[in-house]
Symmetry: none
Subunit: 226 residues, 2 copies
DNA sequence: ATGTTGTATTCATGCGGCTTTAATGTCGCC
DNA sequence: GGCGACATTAAAGCCGCATGAATACAACAT
C-alpha cells in the first residue's frame, strides 16, 4: 500500500507520516504543491492525503488536475476548521473524504483504512495462499495456524507477493512497491528479504510457497512443483 | 521482442534495462547519442526508448534521422519534467509516446506494452498453435492443457515462432529478434535452443509443431505433414 | 549521554542452472 | 557415396541467486 502525503507544515507532515509508516504503509511526502503534483502524477498511489493550504500549487488545483488526468486514487482532504464551507465544493471536485485540522491520528487512520477498503473493490481483508493466512487489518500472519512475527518490510513484501499470488513479480516491481525508490543503483536487497521471508514462512514446511523464477523474479503460490 | 534503450544516466539505464529483461525482452543499451544512432540504424528493433538529453548526439536528432531513414520502430521518449513544452514538437517529429522523468517502472512498462501491441498489427494476448497455448501477459505456456516451464530464452524463441506461425524464419532473423547485440559470428545456438524447445514442447506428442525447413530455417504450425 | 536491542541494508562468497561452445552422429539430397 | 546441413549430446563458462555475516541505523531504556 503506497500513500502520498502532500502537506507543507513540517510538524503535521512528520506526525502523519510516522504514524502511517508504523502501520506499515509505504509513505512518500511532498512539502509543497508543485512537487506533490509531480509525484502524484508520476506514480500510482493507493491513496493521497492532501492539505488544501499549500505553497506553490493549491490543494484544490492538484485535486482538479488529478481527476482530469483520470487518476482515481482516493483523496483525503485536510483543511483548517473554519473552511468547512468549501467542503461541498471539494467533494464535487472529486475528494473522497475530509478531515479538519487539528485532528487525532486515530481519526485519520480510520478514514484512511475505510477509503482503502472502499477504493480497492477487489481488496480482500484476508489473503490466503495454501495454508498461509494474512489478515490485513490486524496484520497477523499465520502458517498452518501458527503465528509468524514479521518486521515491517517483511510484512510489506509478503503482502505484495500474496496480493499477486501466482504472478511472477520482478525485482524492479517489488522495489517500486515495497521500497519507495526507483533509480537506486543495483542492490540485492530484495533477495535478502526474500531469504528472511523464506526463513520465517517456508523453512520447516514441506511445501515451499515462495518460488524463484530465474532471470525474472519471485512469486508466491501453492502450486505443487512438478 | 528486441528493444533499444538510449540513455546516458547509468542509473536510469540500468534500472530500465533490468526491469525490461525481467519481462523477457532482449535489451540493448547505448550510453550516448552517437552509438545509439549507430545501433538503431543497423539493427531492427521492435521499440526504441530514447532519452532526449544526451551527450554526442541529441535525442531529437536521432529521432529525426530515424524517421528520415524510414525506420518505423515505435519510439518512446524520456525527458525532464520541465520540458513538456517540446512535447508537441516531438510528437510531430515522429515520437509515439512520452514519459517525463522521474517515472515509475510500472508506468514505463504499460506504455511499452501498449506501443508493441499497437505496432504489431493487433498483437494478440494469447497465441495458439494447434493445442499449444501461450499467454503473453502471464507468460504461461501450455500444451494440451498441461503447463510447460520455459527459461527466458526458450520463451522468447517460442514466442517469436508462434507470433509468426506458418512462416518460415531464418536463423538470422531469429537471432536478431530473440538475442541481443552481444551476439555475432557463426554459431549453432539457434539449433540448440530449437532442440530444447522440441524437448519440452513436442516430445511425447504425436503431432510435431516445430518443423525444420532445410536450407532455410524453422517454423511452427499445426499443419499435418504431407 | 550511553548502552542495548531490534531492524534495515550492504557485502562477499559459493553454488547451481542457464547459456553457449564444441564435438560427434545422423539425415537428406545430388 | 559424399557432401553439406541439421540433430543431438556433453561439457565449459558464466551469471544469477542464496546465504550468512558485517555494518549502519533507529528506537528505547537506563
Amino acid at each position: 500500500m503506497r500513500l502520498l502525503v502532500i502537506e507543507d507544515e513540517q510538524k503535521v507532515a512528520d506526525f502523519v507520516t510516522r504514524g502511517l509508516r508504523a502501520e506499515r504503509f509505504a509513505v512518500d511526502v511532498a512539502y509543497d504543491g508543485a512537487s506533490g503534483w509531480d509525484m502524484a502524477s508520476v506514480s500510482a498511489y493507493d491513496l493521497i492525503i492532501l492539505d488544501l493550504m499549500l505553497p506553490g500549487m493549491s490543494g484544490s488545483e492538484i485535486l482538479r488536475r488529478l481527476r482530469q488526468a483520470k487518476k482515481d486514487a482516493p483523496v483525503l482532504i485536510l483543511t483548517a476548521r473554519d473552511r468547512t464551507a468549501e467542503k461541498v465544493e471539494h467533494f464535487e471536485a472529486g475528494a473522497d473524504d475530509y478531515l479538519t485540522k487539528p485532528f487525532a491520528f486515530a481519526e485519520l487512520l480510520v478514514r484512511v483504512k475505510a477509503l482503502l477498503r472502499r477504493g480497492g473493490a477487489a481488496r480482500a481483508d484476508i489473503l490466503r495462499v495454501g495454508d498461509l493466512e494474512m489478515d490485513r487489518r490486524t496484520q497477523q500472519v499465520k502458517r498452518a495456524g501458527k503465528k509468524i512475527d514479521l518486521t515491517s518490510k517483511e510484512y510489506s513484501l509478503l503482502e505484495y507477493l500474496a496480493a499477486n499470488a501466482g504472478r511472477v513479480l520482478s525485482r524492479t516491481m517489488i522495489i517500486e512497491h515495497v521500497w519507495d525508490q526507483s533509480f537506486e543503483g543495483l542492490t540485492n536487497i530484495v533477495d535478502v528479504y526474500v531469504r528472511h521471508l523464506r526463513g520465517k514462512v517456508d523453512d520447516g514446511h514441506a511445501a515451499k510457497l515462495i518460488r524463484t523464477v530465474r532471470g525474472v523474479g519471485y512469486s508466491i503460490s501453492d502450486e505443487v512443483e512438478a
